[in-house]
């Protein structure tokens, strides 16, 4: 028995935690806890785990309160605990209560059906006070409508009491606001333009949104820095820039965000080019957030069919109307001309009035009613002119016209108002003197185009001109140089002609010619002259007129080998003896001496080429 009791107790101890884990927890809250008559409060019950919750019903609210709406929505959370994945589903039942009478009321309980079982929540107390009793809440300049406080009241305080704060109630998602990914976690800014290409003066609508993760606590918005739009004329499309307008809910990177519109501007580009819109910056309490830098490619409207008088920047769709009163005045009296320019787009701030002789236009009084209509800027500008006729008779006041580029029609348009004629009677005002007017001595206009100089050809555009400019001097320089060069060449040629080597060549040629003949004396004579030239050319020694042994010694002193010197001396002696022999010499002997003479000269040349020092 004791053992059985012990086993039962042990079993109970094992099962209790499991049962405790399986039992749903219910949390009840009402926000705000105190409201004024006519205001609403939210009574909510969160059940976790709530995957089996199918119904939620609140006990009939007491008299003085009315139920204005209710919802039941689940949310999911995946947690990792010791490496194990687990999913928790929380069901949230929300009841919107409106107070119609003062008093302290008890709300609930709420009955929840989970997996067929009925669970009952705790009650909550709501205090309702008279209208105007509660202190006025100081509006946040960036959150005057308490949008983020609503988040806090609706979700934040309750969710904090649950295992996590990432519960995501179901919201109607606006796909147009959804983004692929969030640039920052939690809260971020996002800027968008309705077009990235425009013409100068065309409206570009810029929207700046703030995205806040619905499961995160309220961002503390502070220190806003406006978007930079120095290249644009900027007009706000919302009535109050300090207000935040809730735009809806969006899915961003798989999470749900509440989206509010911070700014909405009509931007009118002031000039052509790639114009940048600098980001808006905002401190959210956890750091600074900034929107994207955007670029708009801006061009001028087309030149084709552009009307005369069109001013770049006049874009939209304009209408003009005018009335003139009175139509009959005295000279110098005032005529009122009221012109209304209306339409969409950036309306011109001034009009070009028709200047006519005898009519003076005074500066207009301008009143405007410009506003946004369905995000399109436009309205009416009224120009009130005073016109003074200075000439009598019927005066045609002419037309007032404004040309504009219509981006929707892709065409130019002209808004025109015809002012008509006024009749001017004689008046007391003095007639203005024509000569007193400024610039009265201007020449007459020209009636035909075409008195324009064509682009002239210029001499100095050509490099040939600069070459020609230097040519005479260059020619002179060339002539001087040429003459100097020719002199040097001639000098060298002359030197070459009179050199021992040149003479030796001549002598050897003469020797060849003599050998070819049959005069033995002539051959010997030519041999003597060749040998003398050879000694002069190769040994630098003049042996002419030097006799006998002296020849050999002179050559030896000049570095010629004794053997060659002896041979040369012997040959000279032999040739001289044969040449002057009374009996004459044999032709064959003379030719033999000539041959030997040539050999000696070659020896001298060989020695000279090898270098005399070695021979020495």
């Amino acid at each position: 028995m004791t053992r059985a009791l012990a086993s039962f107790v042990a079993l109970i101890l094992l099962l209790v935690p499991a049962l405790a884990l399986a039992a749903p927890q219910m949390k009840t809250s009402v926000t705000p806890g105190t409201i004024e008559v006519g205001d609403s409060a939210t009574f909510s019950v969160a059940v976790a785990p709530g995957d089996k919750v199918t119904e939620a019903e609140m006990h009939q609210p007491p008299a003085g309160l009315s139920l204005t709406g209710q919802s039941l929505s689940p949310s999911f959370q995946i947690t990792v605990n010791n490496g194990q994945l687990s999913q928790v589903v929380t069901a949230r039942a929300t009841f919107r209560i409106r107070a119609t009478r003062e008093g302290t009321y008890t709300l609930g309980p709420v009955t929840v059906v989970a997996d067929g079982a009925r669970l009952t929540s705790e009650r909550a107390t709501l205090r309702v006070v008279a209208k105007g009793t509660l202190p006025q809440r100081q509006p946040d300049p960036l959150d005057p409508f308490g949008m983020f406080q609503q988040f806090q009241q609706q979700f934040g305080q309750q969710l904090d009491q649950f295992p996590n704060d990432t519960l995501e109630p179901n919201f109607p998602i606006d796909p147009k606001l959804s983004l692929d990914h969030a640039p920052n976690a939690g809260t971020f800014l996002h800027a968008a333009v309705d077009k990235t290409q425009a013409v100068v003066g065309e409206q570009v609508t810029l929207s700046v949104y703030i995205y806040a993760d619905v499961t995160q606590s309220e961002p503390q918005l502070a220190d806003p820095h406006e978007v930079g739009t120095s290249d644009f004329l900027r007009r706000s499309l919302v009535k109050d820039d300090a207000s935040i307008e809730r735009s809806g809910y969006a899915r961003v990177g798989g999470r749900t965000y509440a989206v509010a519109l911070l700014r909405k501007y009509a931007l009118f580009p002031l000039h052509a080019g790639d114009l940048e819109i600098q980001p808006m910056r905002l401190n959210i309490g956890r750091g600074e957030r900034s929107s994207e830098t955007l670029t708009v490619h801006v061009t001028e409207p087309p030149m084709d069919h552009r009307p005369a008088g069109y001013v770049v920047g006049d874009v939209g769709h304009f209408d003009l109307s005018a009335d003139v009163a009175p139509r009959e005045v005295e000279r110098g009296a005032a005529v009122a001309v009221n012109v209304a320019l209306s339409g969409t787009g950036n309306l011109p701030s001034s009009l070009v009035v028709p200047t006519r002789p005898g009519v003076t236009w005074l500066e207009p009084d301008v009143k405007e009613d410009l506003h946004a209509d369905q995000d399109v800027w436009g309205g009416t500008r009224r120009f009130s002119y005073i016109v003074q006729p200075t000439k009598e008779g019927d005066l045609d006041l002419g037309d007032i016209a404004v040309s504009y580029w219509d981006p929707h029609a892709h065409a130019y348009g002209i808004a025109k108002a015809t002012l008509g004629t006024i009749h001017v009677k004689p008046g007391a005002a003095p007639v203005a003197s024509e000569s007193a007017k400024l610039l009265s001595n201007m020449p007459q206009p020209r009636l035909q185009m075409g008195a324009t100089r064509s682009a002239e050809a210029h001499l100095d555009d050509s490099n040939v001109f600069w070459g020609l400019l230097a040519m005479p001097t260059m020619l002179f320089g060339l002539a001087i140089s040429g003459r100097r060069v020719s002199r040097v060449v001639a000098e060298r040629a002359r030197e070459r002609k009179t050199s021992p080597a040149a003479e030796l060549k001549l002598r050897l040629r003469a020797l060849d010619a003599a050998v070819a003949g049959d005069d033995a004396r002539a051959i010997d004579g030519a041999s003597i002259r060749a040998l003398e030239s050879g000694a002069a050319a190769h040994a630098g020694v003049n042996v002419r007129g030097v006799g006998g042994e002296e020849v050999a010694s002179v050559l030896t002193r000049a570095g010629v080998s004794p053997e060659t010197s002896g041979q040369l001396r012997d040959l000279l002696d032999a040739c001289a003896a044969a040449r002057f022999s009374p009996d004459g010499a044999e032709l064959s002997d003379a030719r033999d001496r000539a041959e030997r003479s040539r050999a000696v000269i070659q020896k001298l040349a060989g020695a000279a080429d090898e270098g005399r020092p070695s021979e020495r």
Binding site: K437, M442, P445, R446, D461, L469
Partner: protein
């Protein structure tokens, strides 16, 4: 399709001149009818289309002057009138047109000077260019180039004569020719070069705002610097964003680009 395109080509080509002529005729007609605003609109439309014509510029100047004359002056009208006349002078091959433009310009500038004098400011509207530039503009680029060629030939002849001649008188004459022609060649060539540089790179504009105070490159107004008067012709040195660096006589500074209008050249 191809045939239609080919047939359309001559018509398209013919559209542009007729539109230009119509704008010019409308402008002249308005000018004759003493309707300066319509005339200005037509002549400015011509300028927007890139039409460079001395007569159109001249008549545009007259249209602005007429608006001043008719007591309907807008700020900058005198400057724009002066711009039209300056451009006409620059572009015109008709000496009478250039002369009329010059006399109209003188009237405009004397009116500006008169207004300045009424404010207690004395201005010299005609700021002279540097003596060197004035000299280069005196004969023009081609004339200076021809003079340079002449002196080059004379120099070459002198050099040859001095080299080849044996008679002492001839050699002395050649030496004189060399001494004169060598420096004159350098001067004439440099003047031709300056004139060419001005033609290719010098950009000028007219002040089309009642008064412009020059600043330094950081946008800070130059102390003691005189105000640039309307209708003054200035030299454009550089441009940066919405600012233009200008030189006017001895004055050198930056002014908003919108206060100037550039003069077209042939």
């Amino acid at each position: 399709m191809l045939v239609v395109s080919l047939l359309a080509l001559p018509a398209f080509g013919a559209e542009e001149p007729s539109e230009t002529k119509k704008l010019f005729d409308d402008g002249v007609h308005a000018l004759q009818q003493e309707r300066p605003n319509e005339a200005i609109a037509s002549f400015e439309a011509l300028a927007d289309r890139g039409v460079v014509d001395a007569t159109a510029s001249y008549d545009r100047g007259l249209a602005y002057a007429l608006r001043v004359h008719m007591n309907a002056e807008q700020p900058g009208d005198l400057g724009r009138a002066a711009h039209g006349f300056e451009e006409a002078r620059e572009l015109s091959n008709d000496s009478r047109l250039a002369s009329d433009a010059e006399s109209a310009l003188a009237s405009i500038r004397s009116e500006v000077a008169r207004r300045k004098a009424r404010e207690g400011v004395t201005v010299d509207m005609e700021q002279r260019a540097s003596p060197w530039r004035t000299l280069s503009q005196l004969l023009g680029e081609n004339a200076w180039a021809a003079v340079a060629v002449g002196f080059s030939i004379l120099l070459g002849a002198g050099l040859f004569a001095r080299w080849l001649a044996e008679a002492s008188r001839a050699r002395a004459g050649a030496a004189i020719a060399i001494a004169v022609s060598a420096p004159m060649l350098v001067v004439a060539a440099a003047l031709a070069r300056t004139a060419r540089h001005d033609r290719l790179y010098l950009r000028e504009a007219v002040v089309v705002s009642p008064s412009v105070r020059p600043s330094d490159s950081h946008g800070i107004a130059l102390p003691q610097a005189p105000v640039l008067p309307e209708a003054a012709r200035v030299e454009v040195v550089d441009q940066n964003g919405g600012w233009t660096e200008v030189r006017w006589g001895g004055l050198h500074g930056w002014v908003p680009a919108a206060t100037l209008r550039t003069i077209d050249k042939p």
